[in-house]
């Protein structure tokens, strides 16, 4: 997904002179050609995330389209007030692209983990939040949203699905239909959920956009006996409010599957963290069976 981010961004930059790239000392090698060829608009701005977001706001106020890229906790958590006030409050447009997702930098420890990014950004009005599930989806979302009228956050991750859905306005997609319940799944967890629930008689609905949340598609899918489980690659409580607001009491939310609210003081690999949190295919399958009483 990171390679796709570079190639799509370079292509956009070559066509649109209003774009400006600010790298927080991350991805510099990948963008070397752009930085060397167009140093005025593409730069390694340094390791100063708070000022970087405010500078991006100033660029946006100048009619330019900033792309800010660094590791998720430094982009979202360290510079949160700058995102809230300088972009959110002032209703400025721009693009924030993070790497690292919840724990892609597993071995580097909790300072580089960010399972909270989506929950945090949801608290800022008018921020569009995109969680692409594949490189193809990232390419589609970046090209179709980089010059819209608000701040857009793109969450890149190492995990990818083996299928892609590029839908206008990033609306939810019904991937599979069944009768025993509904699984709502976000971004790069789709493939493992499809495998985990391959023999289950359930409907699966896929989201790669968190805000604005497509509640209508979910609501229409449900009836009063529906049982719903949500699976997400970030904090497990992140989407509870959006789901309850969308389903309007029409169905029962049995539970959510995601990263638990705890500091993971392990290192190792992403796969080891997934296994620890029950977020690998096996762990998800066990929890789905339990929630839907399929065993």
């Amino acid at each position: 997904m990171r390679k796709q981010f570079v190639s799509t961004t370079v292509d956009i930059f070559e066509k649109d002179p209003s774009t400006v790239l600010l790298l927080g000392d991350i991805g510099v090698h990948g963008f070397k050609r752009l930085i060397d060829g167009c140093p005025e608009r593409a730069m390694n701005i340094g390791i100063l995330e708070q000022a970087t977001i405010s500078v991006a706001a100033g660029l946006s106020m100048s009619g330019l389209l900033p792309f800010v890229h660094t590791i998720a906790p430094f982009l979202v958590e360290r510079a949160l007030e700058q995102i809230k006030v300088d972009f959110g409050y002032q209703k400025l447009r721009g693009n924030l692209i993070s790497v690292g997702a919840s724990y892609d930098y597993a071995a580097l420890g909790c300072t580089h983990h960010c399972p909270s990014d989506i929950a945090i950004l949801q608290t800022i009005p008018n921020v569009q939040i995109l969680v692409p599930g594949s490189s193809e989806e990232l390419d589609f979302q970046l090209r179709n949203n980089y010059n819209n009228d608000h701040l857009t956050y793109y969450r890149l991750s190492e995990a990818q699905n083996n299928i892609s859905f590029t839908v206008q306005d990033n609306l939810a997609t019904i991937v599979k239909r069944g009768s025993r319940g509904v699984i709502m799944v976000v971004g790069p967890f789709l493939s493992r959920v499809l495998s985990a629930a391959a023999d289950m008689d359930v409907t699966i609905i896929y989201y790669n956009q968190i805000t604005p949340f497509d509640g209508d598609t979910l609501f229409q899918l449900l009836d009063h006996s529906s049982k719903l489980v949500a699976v997400m690659p970030f904090y497990e409580s992140t989407l509870t409010h959006s789901i309850h607001k969308a389903i309007k009491g029409k169905a029962s939310l049995l539970g959510t599957i995601g990263v638990p609210l705890e500091f993971s003081e392990n290192y190792g690999s992403v796969e080891e963290h997934d296994a620890k949190f029950g977020l690998d295919e096996h762990g998800i399958r066990l929890r789905l069976q339990s929630m839907f009483s399929l065993r």
């Binding site: 701005i45 340094g46 100063l48 000022a51 970087t52 660029l59 100048s62 009619g63 700058q82």
Partner: protein, 265 residues
């Protein structure tokens, strides 16, 4: 530069603005009078001789980073007809465009939404950088406070201004001593020199010193820093250098006494 008569006229205008500020603060029980008074001479010069006298008026921008001094900015913008009397009188009302801190979305004359300290200078760096990318003329002026300079984002922005050689940026510091009660900033001029700025120190209540410092900005090849030594609460004896008046609102009796003092000047 200001001759004797224009200084006399300006001081008369500033006294009228002080009365407006004190009256509004009394009526609305809001506003930071001390900080508004310490920047009045600077704001008067910026809006009378810097931004309006430039050929490319629309290209110059002024960012009040120490947003709590908004009442001073509103009063000066009202004097120069960018804010109407009715708008000024609505200060801090529920539906007002003019709050306790400036919000760019509420009034066209307010460049940035500030209030949380340390945002205005990096935004100004972005505006100045944007001008270079867009190949536009004009300058960005940003007024920060000495207490505000505790914020790391101020120094991050200073680093970027120097790194990108933003000769179209002027940062003015209102050195009114607010920061002294917390962290002493030491020699701020030396700090900004070491960050690559061209620095000038002025008496922030001396219009000719202010004018001279602003006058050389456009001929520089690096970002400009003006350290303006000011008096918090300047112009009203009970408020001068009195931290009690940082966020205090006068009673009717205090307002009457302040009117008497100012009108006797």
């Amino acid at each position: 530069m200001y001759d004797e008569r224009s200084i006399w006229e300006a001081e008369n205008i500033l006294n009228k603005l002080r009365l407006k500020i004190v009256r509004l603060s009394m009526l609305k029980q809001e506003g930071h009078i001390g900080s508004s008074f310490s920047i009045l001479h600077i704001l008067y010069h910026v809006y009378s001789n810097v931004i309006e006298s430039t050929k490319s008026v629309a290209l110059d921008k002024f960012v009040l980073s120490k947003g709590h001094a908004s009442l001073g900015l509103y009063a000066v913008l009202n004097h120069f007809s960018q804010i109407s009397d009715a708008e000024l009188e609505s200060f801090c009302d529920f539906n007002s465009g003019l709050g306790g801190h400036p919000h760019s979305g509420k009034h066209g004359s307010l460049v940035a939404s500030t209030g949380s300290l340390g945002h205005g200078l990096p935004i100004s760096v972005g505006l100045a950088l944007g001008k270079l990318i867009n190949r536009e003329g004009g300058r960005i002026y940003c007024l920060i406070g000495d207490g505000e300079a505790n914020e790391g984002a101020v120094w991050e922005a200073a680093l970027l201004a120097s790194e990108h050689n933003l000769s179209n940026l002027t940062c003015i510091m209102d050195m009114n001593g607010s920061g002294e009660r917390a962290i002493k900033m030491g020699n701020v001029k030396e700090k900004f020199v070491s960050f690559g700025f061209e620095c000038t120190v002025v008496d922030g209540h001396n219009l000719n010193e202010i004018a001279e410092a602003f006058g050389v900005c456009e001929y520089l090849h690096k970002p400009k820093f003006i350290l303006a030594n000011t008096i918090k609460g300047k112009g009203v004896s009970r408020m001068e250098n009195n931290p009690e008046w940082h966020h205090k609102f006068p009673t009717q009796r205090e307002y009457d006494e302040i009117c008497l003092e100012i009108n006797q000047l």
